[in-house]
């Protein structure tokens, strides 16, 4: 340990940020020293990304200050933060795929001589940056970005930050899309940056990485600062406890009683594809099975495989006892399945169409092209009754769904799958981005559906939701189902399985 620490390079003091209906950050402070990797952990919704967005000037805080080198700074635009020396690397890249590494790094700041780009200088500076990152052996300044691997692209992003003379670097889940050997590549780079005196804020869900890299760890929970601890002084079990410990101030509907659980609707045996390995489980009528796991563990891929978006390539899928090959969403819908996707706006709704038309979207896919829409109401589902069943609040059914709130949009998506009388429903993050009141409504609805005999598979990264709603919990890690936990399992047990560790105590059944 350092005897007399230098002053912190970055200080965040008492940041508070209120969004409509949510206190996203409540008096959060954090500091980062030169040459330090400071991990920030917390569940989804703990406030990590909001804090980072404030740090880089994408959001403005309601209260609180940011100091860089002891100087107070105000950022109103990401470019200002960049110029001051704070760079962020997002999970989604902002590189131009058809331009070279050098062109990307110096975009907007091309070294010029007599008005012309000094290509030699640009390439030399790029080589120099890559050398500093010890990446010059495997990344050429002339390579097109699209020809690079994800990790290499990330290194180019880092080089871009370096070229901006960044002294503070924020990395948001940098390894989410990386293969194991690529992670090591990235870590070497991150360590060399640390050794050069940069302050690095590292956001991750993966404990193994955090313990490998970070000096200190700050834990956020529900928008509040819980603790900042030295990484070598804490165990992963304690860290989990800091992240999750909470009082339940929210009441979930009761679990299914044994009588409510019926016959097997869906059985998957040893199914695999490019993302998933040996998936086996059963889903019964009347039960809600929760799927927990970290980002990138294969949760969404499982839903997509079941629904025929990216089908399984091997193994066996049985729907109501009959072996079926589901090769497209239409095939899945014909089997009585429905998929409530995570991203409603991009995947669930045709936003400019009316509530009515969105509710009937999937039903119509099952009908003949020339079926008159008039008959959809008469012979088919009763749209009005469906919207009442999901408790939709809309001015009228002919209103375009783009003007509805997030919660009401989600109810329209749900009504869409009720219209096809789905017997198996897959929910991916059913309450993401939905305010607390609407959340309770959706939870009640899920249970009511299960009680009426629907088999429900619920993917969620909110542990309280998984625990509160699920009659059984399947935990995924690295494309596999690594364990099954009973209703009401502890958050700590789920987190341990999800981070690829063994259970501390209690039974492991699978």
């Amino acid at each position: 340990m350092s005897q007399s620490s230098p002053p912190p390079l970055l200080q965040i003091r008492g940041i508070t940020k209120q969004f409509p209906g949510v206190l996203a950050l409540d008096n959060v402070s954090l500091e980062c020293y030169p040459g330090e990797i400071h991990a920030v952990v917390g569940e989804n919704g703990a406030g990590k990304s909001t804090l980072m967005k404030i740090l880089v000037g994408a959001y403005q805080p309601d209260h609180g200050e940011i100091y860089l080198d002891g100087q107070r700074v105000h950022f109103h635009h990401p470019r200002q933060a960049q110029q001051a020396g704070i760079s962020i690397i997002y999970q989604e890249f902002t590189l131009l795929p058809y331009r070279t590494v050098a062109q990307n790094i110096f975009l907007g700041r091309e070294p010029a001589r007599h008005g012309l780009i000094d290509r030699r200088a640009m390439v030399e500076k790029t080589s120099e940056l890559l050398r500093r990152l010890k990446a010059d052996a495997y990344i050429s300044p002339h390579a097109l970005v699209r020809d690079l691997s994800v990790a290499q692209q990330q290194i180019v992003e880092i080089a871009k930050a370096l070229s901006l003379e960044a002294r503070v670097l924020v990395m948001d889940e940098p390894t989410a899309a990386l293969a194991a050997e690529e992670v090591n590549l990235l870590f070497d780079v991150v360590r060399s940056l640390r050794d050069s005196g940069m302050a690095i804020i590292y956001i991750s869900h993966r404990f193994q990485e955090i313990f490998e890299l970070a000096r200190r760890i700050t834990v956020l929970k529900d928008g509040r600062h819980v603790a900042t601890v030295m990484a070598h002084e804490i165990t992963s079990a304690d860290l989990v406890r800091l992240m999750v410990g909470r009082e339940l101030e929210y009441y979930y509907p009761p679990y299914a009683t044994p009588e409510e659980i019926g016959e097997t609707r869906l059985r998957v045996e040893n199914a695999s594809n490019d993302f998933l390995k040996n998936i086996s489980f059963e889903l019964r009528a009347g039960e809600i099975v929760g799927i927990a796991g970290l980002q990138g563990s294969g949760r969404t891929e499982l839903a997509q495989a079941l629904f025929g978006v990216k089908p399984f390539t091997s193994g066996k899928v049985e729907v109501r006892g009959r072996i079926t090959h589901i090769s497209s969403p239409l095939a899945a819908i014909r089997q009585g399945m429905g998929f409530i996707t995570e991203d409603r706006k991009r995947e669930g709704l045709a936003l400019r169409q009316s509530v009515w038309d969105n509710v009937l979207l999937a039903f119509r896919a099952l009908q003949h092209m020339l079926t008159p829409v008039r008959l959809n109401g008469a012979g088919g589902p009763d749209v009005r009754a469906l919207t009442q069943q999901v408790d939709l609040r809309a001015a009228s059914l002919s209103q375009p769904v783009q003007y509805l709130s997030g919660g009401n949009q989600q109810k329209v998506v749900l009504a869409k799958w009720l219209a096809t009388a789905s017997e198996i429903l897959i929910f991916d993050e059913p309450t993401r981005g939905i305010d607390v009141n609407a959340k309770a409504g959706i939870h009640q609805l899920l249970r009511a559906l299960a009680r009426a005999g629907t088999a429900i598979l619920m993917i969620s990264s909110e542990l309280p939701e998984v625990i509160g709603m699920s009659d059984r919990i399947l935990v995924m890690h690295d494309g596999q189902i690594v364990g099954e936990l009973p209703a009401g399992a502890s958050e700590a047990d789920i987190m341990l399985l999800a981070t690829g560790q063994q259970l501390l105590a209690g039974e492991k059944r699978s």
């Binding site: 902002t94 062109q103 975009l107 907007g108 990344i139 390579a143 691997s149």
Partner: protein
């Protein structure tokens, strides 16, 4: 880890296709056609044939690279051709003044297109179809037929030679080289690719995206102006139909996309465009010398456009997967 080869400057495959077309022409014309294929005259005829479309297409490359489109070029060519011959009236002394005015018109049209697209946020297709119709209407109302004439001296522009090389071909190559230089070596060129590739990335990197788009449109209009001057110097007088008859709007877009520039922007270059234009010329010459119905070549052109773009889209999907 894969090593990326530095200076990976492969010959674009479109030039191989061009060569194949040329060789196919040689074989077919030798077997069934008349005239000689492999003569210097033939080659220079093919090249001259490419000039008018080539210059417009180079300008079109700029708008398409930046993620826009200019369908008004055909009518601008007419305006320039008519105005030039009308203003010159066969008098060599009036040439500089006329050239100045038509370039002024070109800049004005480019600015108008660019401003309508960036400031009024119009779809480029709609905006430039609109400005094109506007020019067509005004021109047709003002001129019905060939108007005025260019002086004989001005026709040297189209028919002159420098040594064995036709002057307009040299001009085309010069413009192409200049355009390639601008795209490859200037900050403006780099920003053009960035805006076409991802507008928000470009903006976050401090690129003034609207200015880049407007500049691309001004360049496209300037190129159409030069092309219009070339056409009037060949024809001696301009008429309102010279632009639309040459279908320079759709043909220039076609040449650009056949040359491998993505219609969505951010990818491609002038080299490919030139190859696209030459492919069309080789095809024309080949059909002429084979004595085949000239309209068949148009059918071929249409199918080549679709096939070329389909091959690019299939290939980019393969490498992406």
């Amino acid at each position: 880890m894969k090593l990326s080869v530095p200076l990976r400057r492969r010959i674009p495959s479109i030039y191989i296709v061009l060569l194949l077309f040329y060789l196919a022409g040689w074989v077919l014309v030798s077997l069934f056609g008349r005239g000689t294929w492999l003569s210097g005259t033939n080659l220079s005829n093919m090249a001259v044939r490419s000039v008018a479309l080539g210059i417009v297409a180079i300008g079109q490359t700029f708008t398409i690279l930046v993620g826009s489109l200019d369908l008004s070029v055909a009518y601008l060519i007419s305006v320039v051709a008519v105005m030039a011959s009308y203003l010159m009236q066969g008098d060599p002394d009036k040439v500089p003044q006329a050239i100045l005015i038509v370039f002024g018109i070109g800049v004005g049209v480019g600015l108008a297109n660019g401003l309508i697209i960036t400031k009024l946020r119009l779809n480029a297709f709609i905006a430039t179809v609109g400005t094109g119709l506007l020019m067509q209407g005004v021109l047709n109302a003002s001129f019905e037929n060939f108007a005025g004439a260019v002086p004989a001296s001005f026709q040297d522009f189209a028919y002159g030679k420098l040594g064995p090389f036709p002057a307009p071909v040299l001009l085309l190559l010069l413009i192409a080289a200049l355009a390639a230089f601008v795209l490859e070596r200037t900050r403006f060129g780099a920003h053009l690719y960035a805006v076409g590739g991802n507008r928000s990335t470009a903006r976050l990197s401090g690129v003034r995206t609207d200015r880049v788009i407007i500049a691309a449109h001004v360049i496209a209009s300037l190129m159409a102006t030069i092309s219009g001057l070339f056409i009037v110097s060949r024809l001696r007088a301009g008429a309102p139909w010279v632009g639309p008859d040459g279908a320079y709007d759709i043909e220039s877009v076609a040449a650009v996309v056949v040359g491998g520039t993505a219609l969505s922007g951010g990818r491609g270059g002038v080299g490919g465009t030139l190859a696209g234009v030459f492919i069309f010329s080789v095809l024309d010459t080949m059909f002429n010398q084979l004595g085949i119905d000239p309209y068949l070549k148009q059918v071929f052109r249409g199918l080549i456009i679709i096939a070329a773009v389909a091959s690019y889209s299939v290939r980019s999907r393969e490498t992406a997967a």
